[in-house]
């Protein structure tokens, strides 16, 4: 259901079968764990059973003596790296921390922290060997929450960690403080008729991709290494693995396998350097795969957080001031997405006076990694529920208060620069005018909630190559791994520009030696940036095709035009017949050889994404259990290339957001040990937990992009938790300020409200 027209596109906006589809429905598609090589060994990782402990000694003799065990490595086998932020690929990263996350050096910083890795002739033997490694730990007090980490005298995780404000002499768990300020909040709140202030807590949650991490390392005696793995970014695996191993980047080739989900969690390395190191030690290919428990304990979830949010509005619903305080769990090493949280929390609204403070705090939990619009869902849970409360106080419809204050072209962002053309207002209007919001919700304990969300999206570097075959079909080579159907979208862009059938384009995802640098499939950048490179590469083909046609027709290239897939002379007349690519393709050899179109870009002009969601719930007031009855999401996607997969992104993010809202959480015990290390107790939504998620595609083209594309991958996860919280309030009258809003928590709130009501009633008697 597109809100704008298809602008005369022939391929873009249609719904072709994805090019990798048959492989994926027949089991033929090869994911990382599906590869095997002759002589291959199996690697496993020993992990810390303590949340926080000094490692006194590691004895490997008994394990090495087990028949079938070929090598064991510890942090001593990795080079020590500089303790400072560096650019590695597109990421800013402290390589010392990265290395210490891959194998603990001296200290275990979370339950599941890697201590040693084993290579053996079978995974069972490797597992048994882990039981024989003797590690002497000196347990330390675990620091599990931002409050514990920030309090004076807190146990210190990283003795060398310093922040700018406290200076070089003070040990701290606070890795960074950011502040964003506009106007004067104190003055602003004075103008407010209503002020709402609440404190929120959100639990650490995991991306929950179904495919565990995997890597195969093959180290050659000539010093070159090949890595097969399922990653969101083959180039980031190359640069980070090279850095961790102290190998030159060019000596590593990364072959991206198909990837079974990532959502940001597969944008860094865990097993990859270890597989290469073990291969180097043994001379054999080494395959490593994580168990689900390892994925949950030791890969990067996203931060739990504490957020305080205060907003003020005048009677007519105009926001006049907002102040927010955010502290996010970074995990064992610095680097939570609190900066993004701080920059997104107020982004949907034009508020003259703002003050946002944000703190990145290390705690004894796994080092967080990106998760779909990292940091933004936590933040929106706070601001979007406070806004709902303000709307109620003002007596204004919750969508109308968003329309009154919503950001549009020219509104300054939290960080300062004004927005260019954006589509927030259009998403709010799409929900407001949609059948769902207009429908009546009846029945006891049912409620409807809305919320909006913002995400930046990113641009970055991409490369694309197009080869024209002699039969007129084309192969498209890109470096962006396909995590959700992007191959098809890229092929559609090439087909659109070249005027060929989409099935005559064969998209291939190349290894790091076979395509120019391409940044991660993440940040909602793949269709936007790689799609842009594909568009330019196709234009490059057309330039060359015109030259060839000119040669055949004995004209100048600028006397040839390319329209609707046909080359024709600019001046009609004569006996020169227009030629399609299929017709000219067999003649390329005699007009100068093959045509290869190519393009590389470092994309600017990124179009931010907005979404608005409407959710209906029914709460069982006796058990606190919430059922999602209906959900509709409207999202500005710029231009939907393959609408079915755009809807898929919108539905998928909404589903994850609902999981985050209701049941997903990391549950640690008093000793900092993760108790829910499996998918039985890490409760992601099943098919029975979700209604059909309805989608409203809004298309406000991104200025500057040749096709108007805006990233679509992330923003859909931002508003759902807040919308569910608002719906719960409207169902049973309690304002939930903690995620997840699990039955235990919600029932407690309901009973508390009931008790307060009875007390009040008693007092009234």
């Amino acid at each position: 259901m597109a809100a704008s027209t298809t602008n005369g596109f022939k391929v873009i906006g249609t719904r072709p079968i994805r090019h990798d589809g048959v492989d994926k429905v027949t089991g033929r598609a090869k994911y990382g764990a599906d590869y095997a090589f002759p002589g291959m060994l199996h690697g496993k990782v020993l992990r810390s059973p303590h949340a926080h402990a000094n490692i006194k000694s590691i004895k490997i003799d008994k394990a090495l003596a087990l028949p079938g065990v070929k090598a064991i490595v510890t942090a001593d086998d990795l080079p020590k790296l500089p303790d400072k932020m560096e650019a590695a690929g597109e990421q800013a990263i402290n390589l010392n921390h990265l290395s210490m996350n891959i194998l603990a050096r001296g200290k275990a910083l979370y339950d599941g922290h890697a201590i040693a890795a084993v290579a053996a002739t079978s995974s069972h033997i490797a597992d048994e060997a882990l039981r024989l490694i003797e590690v002497e730990y000196e347990p330390l007090a675990p620091v599990m929450t931002v409050e514990d980490g920030m309090k004076p005298g807190a146990t210190i995780l990283l003795p060398t960690l310093r922040n700018k404000e406290d200076g070089p002499d003070k040990e701290t768990n606070v890795a960074a403080h950011l502040q964003f300020k506009r106007g004067d909040v104190a003055e602003g709140f004075k103008q407010a008729d209503y002020v709402v202030e609440r404190e929120f807590k959100t639990a650490m949650v995991h991306q929950g991709y179904i495919e565990p991490h995997n890597a195969i390392g093959i180290y050659n005696a000539d010093g070159h290494a090949t890595i097969y793995c399922s990653t969101q970014g083959s180039f980031v695996v190359r640069s980070l693995s090279a850095a961790v191993l102290g190998i030159s980047e060019g000596k590593i080739k990364v072959v991206p396998a198909e990837i079974g989900g990532g959502f940001g969690g597969k944008t860094t390395v865990y097993l990859e350097p270890l597989a290469v190191l073990l291969s180097q030690k043994t001379g054999h290919p080494v395959k490593m795969t994580m168990t689900r428990a390892e994925v949950l304990r030791a890969t990067g979830p996203t931060s739990g957080s504490t957020i305080r949010c205060k907003m003020g509005a005048t009677k007519d619903g105009k926001l006049v001031a907002a102040q927010c305080w955010l502290a996010y769990e970074a995990g064992g090493f610095p680097g939570s997405p609190v900066g993004a949280g701080a920059m997104t929390i107020l982004a949907p609204y034009n508020i003259p006076n703002i003050l946002v403070d944000a703190y990145d705090v290390v705690v004894n939990r796994p080092k967080t990694a990106a998760y779909r619009a990292p940091g933004a869902s936590n933040a929106a849970m706070a601001s979007e529920t406070v806004l709902d409360e303000l709307a109620e106080k003002c007596g204004i419809d919750p969508l109308d208060i968003r329309l009154i204050n919503g950001s549009h072209e020219g509104t300054p962002q939290t960080v300062g620069p004004p927005f260019k053309r954006i589509g927030l207002i259009e998403t709010i209007e799409a929900i407001k005018n949609g059948e769902h919001y207009k429908s009546r919700l009846t029945g006891p304990n049912r409620g409807r909630g809305v919320a909006s969300g913002f995400w930046f999206n990113v641009g970055l570097q991409s490369s694309a190559t197009i080869n024209i075959h002699t039969d007129g079909t084309v192969s498209l080579v890109i470096g962006s791994v396909d995590i959700g159907g992007t191959r098809a979208a890229q092929a559609m862009i090439a087909a659109e520009v070249l005027g060929v059938d989409v099935n005559d384009v064969r998209p291939t995802i190349a290894d790091t030696d076979s395509i120019g640098h391409t940044d991660v499939t993440g940040g909602s950048r793949t269709c936007f940036a790689t799609g842009w490179a594909v568009y330019e590469a196709a234009q490059d083909c057309i330039r060359q095709l015109k030259e060839r046609a000119a040669k055949l027709w004995e004209k100048k290239p600028d006397e040839v035009v390319f329209e609707n897939g046909m080359l024709s002379p600019a001046q009609p007349g004569g006996d020169l017949k227009p030629m399609s690519i299929k017709q000219i393709a067999p003649r390329l050899a005699r007009t100068g050889g093959p045509i290869v179109g190519r393009a590389t870009i470092n994309a600017r002009a990124v179009g931010p994404a907005f979404a608005t969601i409407c959710v209906d719930v029914e709460v069982d007031p006796d058990t606190g259990k919430t059922q999602i009855l209906r959900a509709t999401i409207a999202q500005d996607v710029g231009k939907a290339i393959h609408p079915a997969y755009v809807e898929g992104q919108m539905q998928g993010g909404t589903a994850q957001g609902i999981g985050w809202a209701l049941n997903e959480e990391y549950f640690y015990d008093d000793r900092g040990i993760l108790r829910n290390t499996g998918l039985l107790d890490y409760r992601m939504p099943t098919c029975l937990d979700l209604p059909p998620i309805e989608t409203l595609i809004v298309e406000v083209p991104t200025p500057g992009h040749p096709l108007g594309i805006r990233g679509v991958g992330e923003v859909s996860i931002v508003p759902p938790p807040a919308a569910v919280a608002n719906a719960i309030y409207h169902a049973v009258g309690v304002r939930m300020t903690e995620l997840p809003m699990s039955p235990s928590r919600l029932l407690k709130a309901i009973l508390k409200k009931r008790a307060a009501g009875e007390t009040q009633a008693a007092a009234a008697d």
Binding site: G27, A33, A36, E211, L629, H642, C687, L688, P692
Partner: protein, 188 residues
Amino acid sequence: MANKVIVETTINGDPVELLCEPRQSLLEVLRDVLELTGSKEGCLTGDCGACTVVIDGRPVCSCLMLGVEAAGKNVSTIEGLATGAALHVLQRKFLEHASLQCGICTPGFLMSAKALLDRNPNPTEAEIRYALAGNLCRCTGYDKIVRAVTDAAATMAGRSSRTAHGGAVPAETASGMVSEMLAKGEDK
């Protein structure tokens, strides 16, 4: 060292004699011994369904069964779902409805759906969702998967599909489905 044993079984209609260790799961045997890597490992605890195969007509998590237990059984895997070069209707409908994003859960969903339709050719939406509840998908939110199975059932029965791709589900369908779910799923 473990003693390997010979297992005689039937895989995708063909008699197979294989050698495995008793500690190897059926999933390991399929993937590592027989190189049938279409069945995926997602959790090894029976919670995600990515390793679902059909054994004697019933869906089973191949990670929770020893390979040796397959002796004398009839095992169907994703590799046997298509007939020659012709895709099964379910496979075709999954593609038409864009029911997969990353695709790692797809083989498991297809096998669960196959087991369902073989027993119940005309399932309601709630029955479909119940039959697929043992398969986790983290990408799609399930909507397009349910549509594909609904459409496949209709196609196999020679009816026209109840839902076209894209667009919103009519409200009455959505709420009707939810009520049915709630009625069935109370306290479940």
